[in-house]
C-alpha cells in the first residue's frame, strides 16, 4: 500500500479535526486528515439538529469539509505510531502509511454505554432509549414507542454516566443538559400533545444562549423540570414504565408513569491505543491534565525524550530541574507517570507562555479528546491549536507569530 508525507497529520475528521485542517491549510501547510470510518464528519453525522438554534449539522459539515476533500483519507484507522528522524510515522489498518513533522489528535469521544446503569433499564426495557437513539429517531422524522405509539409522557434523565463514581466517570459531560433541552423542545414541536419532564440535579447551561433555551423550554413548551436523580425504572401497565426518584425540592419520594424514558448519556474518553504509552491522560481519562499551563497542545511526558524535543538549541526542563536536557529518544516509549506537575511546576513545554527557551512538542490535541466540550468550543480550540502547530512547524516561539501577524512588536 502507498505511503504519503505531509507537514501535519490530523487524526480524526470530526469538527475539531476538520477545523484544524482548514486553518492549517490556510496557513500554508500540507495536511493529511485520517478518519477511521468510511465517511468524514465524526459525531456530526449522528445528530439531527444542533443547539442552541437547531441548525442542520449537514450544513455545518459541508462548510467545514469544503476544500478539504483532497486531504481526507477515510477508513484509515491508525494502528501503530513511531517516531524517528524528526518525523511521526503512522500505519493504518488498511496498510496505508504516512509521515509528518507534527501530529494533531482530534479523536473525540464516545457516548456512555447506558447499559452499565442497569437500574435505569436500558437494554432491558424497550422504551428506555438514549439521547443518541432519540436523535436517530428525529432523523427519521418520527418518534414513537416500541409499539409504534406516539408517546404521551416522556421523562428525560440528566447525568447518565456523568458525575457517577460507580459508572466510572466522575466528571460533568457539560453538553447533556442543553442536548436534553434541545431534544425536549424538538419533541414538543413535533408532537404538541407530548408532555416532557426533566429529571435533573443541576442544570449546567454555560454556553452562549443556552440559558435562553432553558427559558424557552419552560415558557413556550411548558417542559417540566423536576429536581432529582432517577433511582429506578420498573415496568408499568401495558407499554409504560414506572420511574422512581426523589422530588428534592419537595423533599419527598416521587413516582411517574412514562411512555418513553430518554437517558441523556455523557461523554466517555476514547484514547487511541497506540498512543497509550506516550500520551498522558488526566484522572478523567481525557488527554492532557486540564491545567492552564498544560494547555491544549502539550507534551505528555516532559523529560523523557518526547517527540519534538529534538528541536535544535532547546532543552527540556526535567521535573523540578529546569534546563536539564535529555537527549532525544532517550526514554522514548516510557510510560507516563501522570505526575507532570510535581516539583516546582516548571512544565510548560507544549504550548503555554511566550518563552522560547523550553522545548516544544510536536504532538497536539484538539476537540473533545481533551475533555468534554461542545461544538463551538471544539472549533475554537481547533483553530487555536492550528496556530500553535503552524508556529511549531516554522520554529517560531509561541505567540510571537500571532503578535507578528497583528503587527505588534515584542
Amino acid at each position: 500500500m502507498h505511503h504519503e508525507e505531509a507537514d501535519v497529520i490530523i487524526i480524526g475528521s470530526g469538527p475539531a479535526g476538520l477545523q484544524a485542517g482548514k486553518a492549517l491549510i490556510s496557513l500554508g501547510t500540507r495536511v493529511l486528515i485520517l478518519e477511521k470510518e468510511s465517511r468524514p464528519g465524526g459525531k456530526l453525522l449522528k445528530w439531527d439538529s444542533l443547539f442552541p438554534f437547531g441548525e442542520d449539522p449537514a450544513q455545518v459539515l459541508s462548510t467545514l469539509i469544503d476544500g478539504l476533500v483532497p486531504c481526507l483519507r477515510t477508513s484509515a484507522e491508525v494502528v501503530s505510531h513511531s517516531y524517528s528522524g524528526g518525523m511521526h510515522h503512522l500505519e493504518t489498518r488498511g496498510g496505508y502509511s504516512c509521515s509528518a513533522n507534527a501530529l494533531v489528535l482530534a479523536t473525540g469521544f464516545q457516548p456512555f454505554d447506558a447499559r452499565l446503569k442497569e437500574e435505569y433499564g436500558y437494554g432491558i426495557y424497550e422504551n428506555v432509549i438514549t439521547s443518541v437513539d432519540l436523535e436517530k429517531m428525529f432523523s427519521t422524522g418520527r418518534v414513537s414507542t416500541k409499539g409504534g405509539q406516539i408517546p404521551g409522557r416522556v421523562a428525560m434523565v440528566h447525568c447518565v454516566g456523568s458525575r457517577d463514581l460507580k459508572a466510572g466517570h466522575e466528571y460533568c459531560s457539560s453538553v447533556c443538559c442543553i442536548t436534553g433541552i434541545k431534544q425536549a423542545m424538538k419533541l414538543c414541536s413535533l408532537y404538541p400533545s407530548v408532555r416532557v419532564h426533566h429529571l435533573y440535579m443541576d442544570l449546567r447551561l454555560g454556553g452562549r444562549f443556552h440559558e435562553s433555551c432553558y427559558k424557552e423550554a419552560q415558557v413556550k413548551y411548558r417542559i417540566r423540570f423536576i429536581r432529582g436523580r432517577l433511582s429506578e425504572t420498573n415496568p408499568g401497565p401495558g407499554e409504560t414504565l414506572e420511574i422512581r426518584y426523589e422530588d428534592t425540592l419537595a423533599g419527598k419520594p416521587a413516582r411517574m408513569t412514562v411512555d418513553l424514558l430518554v437517558l441523556l448519556v455523557g461523554m466517555v474518553p476514547e484514547p487511541v491505543k497506540c498512543f497509550n504509552e506516550i500520551l498522558h491522560t488526566g484522572a478523567d481519562g481525557f488527554y492532557g491534565d486540564g491545567s492552564i499551563s498544560g494547555g491544549f497542545a502539550w507534551n505528555g511526558t516532559p523529560g523523557n525524550g518526547f517527540p519534538g524535543n529534538e528541536t535544535p538549541g532547546k532543552e527540556i526542563p526535567e521535573k523540578g530541574t529546569p534546563g536539564k536536557g535529555i537527549s532525544p529518544d532517550a526514554n522514548y516509549g516510557h510510560k507516563s507517570t501522570g505526575k507532570i506537575h510535581n516539583g516546582d511546576g516548571d512544565f510548560r513545554n507544549g504550548s503555554a507562555g511566550p518563552s522560547g527557551s523550553t522545548a516544544r512538542s510536536s504532538l497536539f490535541c484538539a476537540g473533545a479528546c481533551t475533555g468534554p466540550k461542545n461544538l463551538v468550543q471544539s472549533l475554537q480550540e481547533a483553530s487555536a491549536v492550528a496556530l500553535e502547530v503552524n508556529s511549531y512547524l516554522r520554529n517560531i516561539p509561541q505567540y510571537e507569530r500571532l503578535y507578528q501577524d497583528h503587527g505588534i512588536r515584542i
Binding site: H197, L203, Q218, F225, I226, D247, M256
Partner: protein, 136 residues
C-alpha cells in the same frame, strides 16, 4: 375502632396527577412558568422565618398537587411583595399568591363543611398546624 396508633399519610408524590390547577393559574400569571427554583423569594420572605414556607415551596406544592398543605401555608403570606422584588426572572409572585388564595377561597366553602380539619384551622388554631407541618 381505636388501635392506639395512626396510619402515616403516604408521602409519595405521584407525578401522574393532573396539573389542571397549576395550568389554570398559569393562564392568569404566565410569568409563573419562568421560575427556576432559586429560592430568592424564600430567602427574603418575612413569613418564611417563622413558618418555613416561601413562594418557591408554594409552587412545588401546587405542581405536586399538595393542595391541602398549600392552602394552609398560604395563610402566612402577608402580601408584602418582597419576593416579587428579588425574583431574578421577574415572576409576579404576589399576583400568583393572590390568585392562589382566591382559587382556594372559591373552592373551600364546600370543603370547610365537609372537612372538620380545615374548619378548625379557620377557627384560629394556625400555630398548631405549623408545628405539625414542620415536624411531619
Amino acid at each position: 375502632m381505636e388501635f392506639g396508633f395512626k396510619l402515616h399519610e403516604d408521602l409519595l408524590v405521584d407525578h401522574d396527577h393532573s396539573l389542571k390547577t397549576y395550568e389554570e393559574l398559569l393562564t392568569r400569571v404566565p410569568s409563573l412558568a419562568m421560575c427556576m427554583s432559586c429560592g430568592s423569594c424564600t430567602g427574603t420572605c418575612v413569613a418564611a422565618l417563622k413558618t418555613g414556607f416561601g413562594f418557591r415551596k408554594f409552587l412545588v406544592l401546587l405542581r405536586n398537587g399538595s393542595h391541602r398543605e398549600l392552602e394552609q401555608a398560604l395563610r402566612y403570606c402577608q402580601l408584602c411583595g418582597k419576593c416579587w422584588l428579588v425574583c431574578p426572572r421577574g415572576v409576579n409572585t404576589r399576583k400568583a399568591i393572590i390568585e392562589m388564595k382566591a382559587m382556594y377561597e372559591n373552592k373551600s366553602a364546600d370543603k370547610i363543611k365537609a372537612d372538620p380539619g380545615i374548619k378548625s384551622i379557620t377557627q384560629g388554631k394556625a400555630i398548631h398546624v405549623v408545628t405539625q407541618t414542620r415536624t411531619g
